[in-house]
Symmetry: C2
Subunit: 239 residues, 2 copies
Amino acid sequence: MDTITTSVHSHHTSKCNCEDCFINLIASQHLAPMICDKLYNSKKEAKFKQGDTLVEEGKNIDRFLYIKEGLIKVSQMTDKNENRIISIARPHDNITLLSFFSSEKYLYTITALEDSVACSFPYQLMLDVIKSEKEFAFGILNMISFASSKVINNFVKLSSRNLRGRIAFIILDFADNIYKTDSFDLPLSRKEIAELIGMTVENVIRILSEFKKDGIINIDGKSIDIVDRQKLQLISNFG
Amino acid sequence: MDTITTSVHSHHTSKCNCEDCFINLIASQHLAPMICDKLYNSKKEAKFKQGDTLVEEGKNIDRFLYIKEGLIKVSQMTDKNENRIISIARPHDNITLLSFFSSEKYLYTITALEDSVACSFPYQLMLDVIKSEKEFAFGILNMISFASSKVINNFVKLSSRNLRGRIAFIILDFADNIYKTDSFDLPLSRKEIAELIGMTVENVIRILSEFKKDGIINIDGKSIDIVDRQKLQLISNFG
DNA sequence: TTGATTTATTGATATATATCATATATGTTT
DNA sequence: AAACATATATGATATATATCAATAAATCAA
């Protein structure tokens, strides 16, 4: 288990060069050179192996994390001690955003689904910059708003579907929004799918098998193929 | 149907005097007198009758709303055209917060559950102040973060419970967090309870009747009494 | 007041989902 | 390789939940 502070992987400080990184964008355009340098110099870049924990729910917030490469899950313990996946995050997502301003502790556990690279900035410095730079604060407002409505939206959509509908929905979600192709490797175990859509592992497996038997998808281990997209869409829409 | 812009009820501009209003707090403490006046002068206070719509999902955002008195529901249409209640808002809640920065349209429909009073500020002015005043922006960040994590938390908690558990959970929630007493009038119809916790009306009614028969609650129409709080808590915790 | 419409209620039944049991496969440690 | 753990898979069954149908009660409009 690897966390960003104890990472043994190579991490080096370097000027930011991610074009789609909001932090970089605002910093380079609006920050005074001194502050900008300070921010860039405080940046840590860390590699994570699949399964590594980047951030643990309940721990004190010490850094502001940005996903540079890879795929990440954000999850929370229910009050009944089950794990619930809140969202799947991808490059350019600021994954600690939803925790950062509502408490001093991380609200969610963040785990690498693939080998991933994350940039991070120290909590206090980030806070200082946000407090002193209008553009930063406003941009963060937009991002946090967007991120939270996405999560809420997802819950609303999932909760209006039965299990077949949910499975169809998330398969299409992965295909359309993450991989942009109908053939991909599922980044989640069956158990994680269950935690993402709120059902039991057995039923996830069962429904995936049914979809396969019915010629809607092809699935072999983690590799998945959408065979009959129209039918899958129907199940997602009406199931 | 009444909306804030077309309201025929008395609304008058006056200095803000709500002690727990964040807008008022920051404005009076940190804003330059001119800006503060401008903000206060732009304030509208409007009364709403139970059932009135304050804000409609999909409409252009024109004002920033604050609940002064009453009880409010915030809801969203699912993509299957069912209504889902996202949260119940009370005095001092800034109910348009979750919409305000993520799009130009309201994301949620906002409806009065009781006769209520709402203050509001014009969209553009509010945006200008937030963009120009650091304290404002940061305070808003905290609020939005808090609000969204509350909504998400609620979804997580509900989704880990079966229907009896959900009903027990929301009864306790109303008693503990809204009315601070074990006897109160349910502000929601059976249908709205169903929309709040994601189940059918029939089952809401059935379970409420069961709870009554089992001596856990007393319910007569909308009036509700918690009789056996311990048992209700058990159902909420383990159901 | 009446009639009409929505809301609340209950029961019977079908369906969806979870649970339990067991088996196979896969991967990991020794 | 053996032993162990974990993930995947399938079937049987119990349970939870939705659906359908039919009333009753409450609310609203004329």
